[in-house]
Symmetry: C2
Subunit: 345 residues, 2 copies
């Protein structure tokens, strides 16, 4: 199975963006630093050394699993963590967050569980929940469905901005484990689960709730709803201990879609997929769906949620600072369209 | 007909918000100024006199009319203007904007029309389109539907913040005409149109496209898709000419839902509804739907999109600065739950 088979096509999104790129560029003000395609937009306010970093994200169809299993708290936390990590990839720390909650018929109890969890996640990471919008739109969503969008503004001193241009040949790639799919690749995962449930002659809910031996008795629902890990403390510790050139947050588009965003043109990455153990939930999905490696690594993080590009001389210091970090590869010259090379598989 | 009959219930949203208020308050950082309920959140960055104003909005089910009539450009513009006006109500000017576009199956051509128009509106108002998220979520939206959210950050010098606490008894209310419903009250408007179309034995599309004598030959579709007016130039001119105490942007919740947001506790507004001519589109909807006055003024702006509270001594200066502005009432002491009193009707 491939992502395209599930109705999600990243090339369609790229086509859509290409159509408006020039009109977006035309909105640039002198305060804007950098171009489209970074993990966050940079805006330099006059009169201060602090550069603002703005980012927006959604939770995608992980929402559908939360709804199916009536476990709504996680997705609020997921959204905040996703946005915080994007800000971290630019070098910034979170300042404030706003949310958009949209549904056909508002259920106050579910809203409170989702947005309450968002507020708690904001507080845990020192981020103010500064505003939000709640939209009730009868007939737009399928019954019971809701959508979430988050918007985060962070701040970074100008000389602490992480810029992909700083990465060099020979830098090492330090990977930090993910807790699962985080908030990406769920349409593919759901399609695979639907098919596996049908094969097992179970309805999807029972299938997701059944204990799985490969997950040590946890259910697939537990694994798929595991909270998107927030790397704020890790990145703080890492930057205190080592020279970090740039950071990639592995989200939609997986490895090839995100790791090159932390590298300048002409450079690529060689990654050793045996450097870490791919968590069981990914292996189960790959097997059930007959997903080719390129498609799996192009849709999911496969067990690594954030990759820091670190000066080679600082490799040991970096690994000492982060107990669960792993050296997963290095930066190399590259040519050709694909910029992530797999050392062996 | 009342709003509640259409499946949208503002008291449900208030209930939902009440459940999380304490958890949201707990996220407050020292940089946050003010409390929940303003038109935008205020955040004071260390080291600069500029206070950031953040706001988020959606377009609501106006999207459904745009989709029905295949006129998608307007809603992108609407969203930017809505956000800019909310920032203006806090005294701020726009700095940057981010969008969230979400649908079941992305249609690049429609996306480009919507988001391209957003980019153009940003440029027209000197606002950088700093980022965006495009989400493809199969099965979440009814076929062809998409949702939009916008996030805007503006800036205001600390001593230029508009604070409802500044409004005084005797201040005058200066109203600025709207171009129509702007982006609020569409679920009610659509329900009324559906019923009127059925009565006329027309499908809803033909009904919306038919020329209407009351609209001087324009169609109801034209009237309902009129662009949300942006008051940036008006507010600039007004503040240059007069002492503006505070501003209300009349959006969801209509008059009672928004005008009190520009006033301190204990003060209310007396408004003369005969001070301006209610535009035909509102009169048609009121008549077809048998909508009571209180419900109409509680759902729609009824022809006034923004109200500035101005020092009484500056009334003439304000009206001179804004050719189409109207004195619509004044600030008075009040008691009781309703804070907008209608002088006569």
């Amino acid at each position: 199975m491939r992502y395209q088979d599930t109705g999600v096509d990243i090339s369609r999104a790229e086509d859509a963006l290409a159509r408006i790129r020039d009109r977006v560029r035309a909105t640039k003000r002198p305060e804007v630093i950098g171009d489209i395609g970074a993990f966050g937009g940079l805006f330099r306010l006059a009169g201060t050394d602090t550069v603002l970093v703005a980012t927006t994200d959604g939770v995608g169809t992980k929402l559908e699993i939360a709804r199916l299993l009536d476990r709504h708290e996680g997705v609020g936390t997921d959204l905040v963590h996703h946005c915080v990590n994007d800000a971290l990839a630019m070098g910034a720390e979170p300042l404030f967050f706003l949310d958009y909650f949209s549904t056909s018929t508002l259920e106050p109890e579910i809203f409170a569980r989702v947005v309450g969890a968002m507020a708690d996640a904001c507080r845990a990471h020192g981020c103010a929940l500064l505003g939000g919008e709640t939209a009730e739109m009868p007939g737009m969503y399928v019954p019971g469905a809701y959508d979430l969008a988050g918007f985060l503004v962070g701040g970074v001193a100008r000389d602490r901005i992480l810029d992909p241009a700083a990465a060099r040949e020979g830098d090492v790639l330090i990977g930090l484990p993910s807790t699962g799919l985080h908030t990406n690749g769920y349409s593919l995962a759901r399609a695979i689960c639907d098919r596996a449930a049908a094969r097992a002659e179970l309805d999807i809910r029972s299938f997701l709730l059944a204990p799985q031996p490969e997950l040590r008795g946890a259910s697939l629902g537990d694994a798929l709803l595991a909270t998107h890990r927030c790397y704020l403390d890790d990145v703080r510790a890492l930057r205190a201990a080592a020279t970090v050139r740039s950071i990639a947050h592995l989200t939609g588009g997986g490895w090839e879609g995100n790791l090159p965003r932390a590298l300048p043109p002409g450079l690529g990455a060689t990654v050793d997929p045996n450097a870490w153990i791919v968590p069981p939930v990914f292996r189960m999905l790959v097997e059930w769906g007959g997903v080719a490696d390129a498609d799996a690594f192009g849709a999911w993080n496969m067990g690594i949620g954030l990759v820091a590009v670190v000066a080679a001389a600082d490799e040991r210091a970096a690994l000492r600072a982060l107990p669960d970090a792993i050296r997963i590869g290095m930066v190399e010259r590259t040519s050709g369209p694909r910029r992530v090379r797999w050392a062996s598989r």
